[in-house]
Amino acid sequence: MSQVIVITSGKGGVGKTTTTANLGVGLAKLGKKVVLIDTDIGLRNLDVVLGLENRIVYDLVDVVTGVCKPKQAAIKDKRFDGLFLIPAAQTKDKDAVTVEQMQELCEKLKKEYDFIIIDCPAGIEQGFKNAIAGADKALIVTTPEVSAVRDADRIIGLLEANEIYDHYLIINRIRPDMVRRGDMMNVDDIMEILNINLIGIVPDDQDIIVSTNKGEPAVVNPKSMAGQGYRNITERLNGNNVPLMDLDSNTLLGKIKKIFSKKQ
């Protein structure tokens, strides 16, 4: 059964596009056929995060208006077998795509791909409505900040108003050092506030910036903590139950804990 998953957040800059890229690559590495759709028309970015910016011929607007077939617009990522990208249009308006067109496109793509992952623009206007139109499932990205959690709560309400109840939270950019000294909300704090299930956590990691610079998602870097967070989420999307990552494992205290728990 193919799944249409929208990656959304309300607030901008919390890591929707990075999450979309990493989950897409992660699922392709698990042998799935995946298409990523950038719905941020006018502000496309998923292409550069994936390092596919030089290969764009057609875009999302071309697909929904019938200028080309979905297959022609889907750029095949040569590094990861089974990964495709339908980029957003850069020079057109948000209203160039309608809700009905997106629903129709998602239905078509379900026949071709195991996972259709939609990168939603920030905000709750037309772009958001388009992005969620064909989705069965939503992953809401937030960071441990008041503004991001507030916007996530609003998005959960809007998703439910649009009858998307299969929604999960990703808490991004957690800083274990700040959580430890009580200067950042922890996973339990956020889960207590939002009425939603958690699908994964991603620690704040400089590797994300390095990998985005190069256009190589961190999920393929075995040393990256954020990459590990994304690998865990792809496993869970694939139906495998993996435990939540231990954020203390990299500290001295965490290492001591590990040694003792091994002896038991």
Binding site: P144, E145, V146, V149, R150, D153, R154, G157, V179, R180, R181, G182, D183, M184, M185, N186, D189, I193, L253, K257
Partner: protein
Amino acid sequence: MLDLSRIFGRKNNSKDAAKDRLKLVLVHDRANVSPEFLKTIKDEIMQVLAKYMDVTDGELDINITTAQSEDGKSRVPAITANIPIKSIKQK
């Protein structure tokens, strides 16, 4: 398990401030209460109170917050009002 962070450095928990502020702001967001709506409520409460006592318009403070529910298990939305009375009208 021994958690050293609980013994040391427990002084300035800014995350508690974040949590409290979030809870408050979400009550408003979820209740979908507009400032106009709140103003209407305020005005009507004032009209009723004015019949029986002297209150000053500007000193009225009405807010939607959360309070402990009756069973003490959860927090529920509540209206709090702080209205200083100048004098009560004698009938």
